[in-house]
């Protein structure tokens, strides 16, 4: 008897769950997505014909704080996954909630930063810095936002009677992969845009 339906503990040729495999392959494609955006940013570094320029606007201390926040959200995420895998659901829920809050704080930092920049005269259309910066960090922020919604859905799902079911560990783990990836993209962005002098 064979099952065409996908659920945990079914046979696969590699021993890896289908959804897990798909998430990793999807993350490989996301490397290309952010790689193209980062390439564009680097190509246009120094090409702005008018200001404001990165040196005037980028606030490294504040962005270091937001980077720290996102980094901590990865810690809470991995703890949430641990909780789900070891059926310690209180640990899972608390850390999931913490991740959501930290992720939202990060988005808050982004909103504040964008607003600051706009007040200083940097729009999408102002110069090459504006175009490439806002597109790159905006799309990254969108990914974080989708991640936050994803995690909120899991948190809501976990408070149902059956919780997240027998796949809880896997579901959290896959969400964690997405979340950590969004974090490591930020690590790259932080280094390239903020830390390395243009």
């Amino acid at each position: 008897m064979s099952e065409a339906v996908t659920h945990a503990e079914h046979h696969t040729s590699t021993g890896v769950d289908n959804r897990m495999l798909m998430m990793w392959i999807f993350l490989a494609s996301e490397c290309l997505f952010f790689g193209s955006l980062i390439s564009t940013y680097l190509i246009y570094q120094g090409e702005s014909l008018v200001g404001p320029l990165p040196g005037e606007l980028l606030n490294i201390p504040i962005t270091s704080a937001s980077t720290f926040v996102l980094l901590m959200s990865s810690v809470t995420m991995v703890l949430a996954v641990y909780g789900a895998q070891h059926k310690e659901f209180l640990m899972m829920k608390l850390n999931l909630l913490a991740t959501i809050i930290l992720g939202t704080i990060f988005l808050g930092f982004q909103v504040v930063e964008f607003t600051e920049f706009v007040h200083h005269g940097l729009l999408l259309s102002t110069n090459q810095f504006g175009s490439s910066f806002y597109l790159l960090t905006g799309l990254h922020g969108t990914h974080v936002g989708i991640g936050v919604i994803y995690l909120i859905s899991l948190l809501i799902g976990s408070s149902r009677r059956n919780g997240l079911g027998k796949d809880a560990g896997l579901n959290l783990e896959i969400a964690g992969l997405y979340w950590h990836f969004v974090d490591i993209v930020w690590i790259v962005i932080f280094t390239i845009i903020y830390l390395i002098p243009s």
């Binding site: 040729s13 590699t14 490397c31 193209s36 980062i38 990865s74 560990g169 280094t191 830390l195």
Partner: protein
């Protein structure tokens, strides 16, 4: 590769919550180091140091938080494929734009607004 394998939920992860917090602290320290490094005068060493430290963070999160070190090899292959290709294309594009002879057309001085000498990776690698 045709062996049927049962998927398992918890992959016997040797990492405990304490380990994860420790790793988180190390990542924080590295970030602080990067922050300090970006302010002190390191000259040509700055960029390699920053890239190296970021790479350490990147690999730590992928291998440990995302568990890749303990997973089936196929997953590492999939991710590395994407990451390596993206990096190669990035380097290729930067090189192509660094060495763009069309910037000097029309009497425009490349140093004033063209691509030459401004792309840090090309500048740094002297290509």
């Amino acid at each position: 590769m045709s062996t049927e394998a049962q998927t398992t939920e918890s992959h016997g992860s040797p990492l405990t919550p304490r380990d994860y917090i420790k790793i988180g602290l190390i990542l924080t320290v590295i970030t602080i180091v990067e922050l300090i490094a970006s302010y002190i005068e390191l000259g040509a060493l700055l960029i390699p140091i920053l890239i190296f430290l970021s790479l350490v963070k990147f690999v730590a999160v992928v291998a440990l938080f995302m568990h890749l070190k303990y997973e089936a090899r196929i997953l590492t292959q999939m991710f590395v494929m994407g990451a390596v290709l993206a990096t190669c294309i990035l380097i290729g594009l930067l090189y192509l734009f660094r060495n763009d002879p069309t910037d000097a057309l029309g009497g425009v001085d490349p140093a004033s607004g063209g691509h030459a000498a401004r792309i840090w990776i090309g500048h740094y690698l002297h290509i």
